[in-house]
């Protein structure tokens, strides 16, 4: 048997870090060798519960014999953390968006190639079982040629550093467009985004300056075009955190994906509101396992840095469109 993959967590700043960590802890094929996070207090509970060694400086963690890292730092730090990890010879699973600028994402991809390590972008939505079935149906040609689409990835306001564009690189338009963009990219192999038109504004959290309302129109070079609502628009009283939906109009049919429709409805006086209890397959576990399997076997990671760049580039071009008020063509 191959020994477990030794993994370091670089930053727990993004909430998804906790889901990935739990998935890794549950996997015999992986060991978490350390957690690097600038503030020990912020991860004290996790350290106490898991006994995982703590590193104040991620560079010390990179000097150990770990095989791979999971990077869940603030978006603006992804590039530095990824490039340093690549130079240290560690494989990388990086939280989305891959970066906040096209040039730095290219440097991240180059650094990983030069370092001989794999770079995977964390797009867990590819591991939604319904999304996988949708993709298979599309690839079998069941709805014909893809003509148009409408998607949503709405959520609740994440607060914290997400509201600080210096650390996040952007608000809802960046944070919540890349998942659906990647699903589309994945479902239409070979197609690339040709043009975007976007709306972004602050409509829900007036005490913050970040864009929390977003509408991103996308046209692919195969002609398929559509729109994604990226808004952090779910109120506190909403029964769930948000959604991922995608309706695809084909020449021979329509396919509607509602990723978290597999839920029970729970009405609890104690909670003060109704809530959805999701019971579908866990996408985070499946994605983390795919990363670990790729590192163990030496096979290519299923979602690449180029995939991350493709999605983030379209989202970032959306901000150019917001500034100009007109569609923007991607180079």
């Amino acid at each position: 048997m191959t020994p477990p993959v030794k993994i370091g967590m670089i930053s727990m700043a993004h909430g998804h870090a906790h889901a990935y960590m739990e998935a890794l802890l549950a996997m015999p094929q992986a060991d978490i060798a350390g957690i690097a996070h600038p503030s020990r207090d912020e991860v004290a509970d996790v350290l106490a519960r898991t006994g995982i060694p703590y590193y104040a400086d991620y560079r010390e963690l990179l000097q150990t014999d770990i095989d791979a890292v999971v990077i869940c730092s603030e978006n603006a730090l992804h590039a530095r953390h990824t490039i340093d990890a690549a130079m240290a010879g560690k494989h990388i699973l990086c939280e989305k968006p891959l970066g906040i600028e096209v040039g730095e994402m290219t440097r991240m991809i180059d650094a990983c190639r030069e370092g001989g390590v794999q770079l995977m972008t964390a797009f867990p939505c590819r591991y939604l079982t319904a999304a996988e079935e949708a993709r298979q149906a599309i690839l079998r040609g069941e709805i014909g040629e893809i003509l148009a689409f409408k998607g949503t990835n709405r959520g609740t306001f994440p607060g914290s550093w997400f509201a600080d564009s210096a650390r996040s690189g952007g608000g809802a338009l960046l944070d919540h467009s890349v998942h659906v963009l990647d699903l589309l990219h994945w479902m239409m192999p070979g197609a690339a985004v040709r043009e975007v038109y976007a709306y972004a504004a602050n409509r829900f959290q007036p005490e913050h300056e970040i864009d929390d309302a977003g509408m991103l129109h996308v046209t692919f070079d195969n002609g398929a075009c559509g729109v994604i609502d990226t808004s952090w628009s779910r109120p506190r009283t909403f029964p769930t955190w948000g959604d991922v939906t995608l309706e695809i109009v084909g020449s021979a049919g329509v396919l509607s994906l509602d990723a978290f429709a597999q839920h029970n409805e729970v009405y609890s006086d104690a909670a003060g509101k109704g809530a959805y209890a999701y019971w579908g397959d866990g996408m985070d576990e499946l994605m983390v396992r795919a990363f670990v399997d790729a590192v163990r076997s030496g096979r290519p990671v299923p979602i690449t840095g180029a995939d991350g760049l493709h999605a983030a580039r379209a989202a970032l071009a959306g901000y150019d469109s917001v500034r100009s008020g007109q569609p923007v063509r991607l180079a």
Binding site: K150, A201, R203, H217, V227, D229, R234, P235, G325, Q326
Partner: protein, 350 residues
């Protein structure tokens, strides 16, 4: 009040049925260029039928005329009706172009007749209720809205001709354009993507409002499912949404006539052997959202009341004209690939 109905297709029947149940009105004649269609509706409601509108106007002297003819004919019939001095209920869209809509308003003003336009969505209780919630501050300040209207491709041939119907934007999305303007105010810009194919007309339009709010409107002819509408408005204090599929209070699901493999269909037994797996007729499923008074009846009753009692209608001819400005901008955007900006009054392009 003496009523005439011009155009005895689907909408003509809906108007006739609504007037027939109303007090204060009497249908004095129906008209269609197709004598069979005219006679059919005339017999159904017990009114004389005509194939020549001029003859109907001269013989029956209607006070109010419902125009339920194909959209490209609206202006000509409005002109003829206004010259006769009768008030008008015109089905939406008021016209296919802003210029024709302006001409329609002008000719009605010139002859001193009132022009009502059938933007019936304002009379749907779910949509009216949603606006009431927004106006009442239930969701705080509105930020992001979605309006959806999807259904089969229209069966009547003239809908497929862009020059007659205006396509999915001018014929179908116009409902949600009017509703969005009613709820969120004047539109500042329009960006629209449209895909068409045989039996399919699909459009997505993002409207940015003078308030700074945004709405995305989705309209689909050729949707392979039941006709369905939905709306969602999210604000900084909440979300309100409606979905016709979720509020269908009545479903009739008829057992297919031949059903030899019942246990396989319940999912409990083994799959039928290939030999007896002859395709069973698909079960028909018809969702219904019944109301004592249909939205069309509410609308027409309101228009009749506006004439009888005076007063401004819930939706004005100017509203219909403004909706067409937005529709025209959507067409222009879909054609050019550019966002189209309207002045704050939506009066003219910048």
């Amino acid at each position: 009040m003496k009523i005439a109905i011009v155009g005895c297709g689907g909408m003509g029947h809906i108007h006739a049925a609504a007037y027939a149940r109303m007090t204060h009105v009497r249908i004095v004649g129906v008209c269609d260029v197709d004598p069979i269609r005219a006679a059919e509706l005339g017999e159904r409601i017990g009114a004389p039928s005509y194939t020549d509108y001029g003859q109907l106007l001269a013989a029956e002297a209607p006070e109010l005329v419902s125009l339920t003819v194909p959209s490209h004919l609206h202006l000509a019939y409005i002109e003829q009706t206004a010259a006769h001095g009768a008030h008008i209920v015109c089905e939406k869209p008021l016209a296919l172009t802003v210029a024709d809509a302006e001409a329609a308003l002008a000719v009605c003003a010139k002859h001193g007749v009132r022009l009502f336009v059938g933007h019936v969505v304002r009379f749907f209780p779910d949509y009216a209720g949603l606006k009431h919630a927004v106006d009442g501050g239930r969701i705080g300040t509105p930020g992001v809205a979605h309006l959806r209207r999807v259904g089969g491709y229209p069966e009547r041939q003239w809908f497929a001709e862009e020059a007659k119907s205006g396509g999915v934007i001018t014929d179908l999305m116009i409902h949600d354009i009017d509703y969005a303007r009613w709820t969120l105010g004047p539109v500042r810009s329009v960006y629209c993507l449209r895909r068409t194919a045989a039996g399919l007309d699909y459009a997505l339009a993002t409207l940015v409002f003078a308030s700074g709010a945004v709405a995305n409107l989705e309209s689909h002819w050729g949707y392979p499912g039941s006709f369905r509408t939905a709306a969602e408005f999210a604000g900084d204090g909440g979300v309100v949404r409606l979905d016709s599929a979720a509020s269908a209070a009545l479903h009739m699901r008829k057992t297919p006539p031949k059903r030899t493999d019942a246990c396989a269909r319940t999912g409990e037994g083994p799959a039928p052997a290939a030999a007896d797996a002859a395709p069973a007729p698909a079960a028909a499923e018809i969702p219904r959202s019944p109301l004592r008074k249909s939205p069309y009846a509410r609308e027409l009753e309101h228009f009749v009341d506006c004439l009888r009692l005076g007063g401004a209608p819930l939706v004005t001819a100017t509203d219909a004209l403004q909706a067409l400005r937005v529709a025209e901008a959507a067409h222009q955007s879909a054609r050019t690939g550019r966002a189209v900006y309207l002045s704050s009054e939506e009066g003219e392009r910048l």
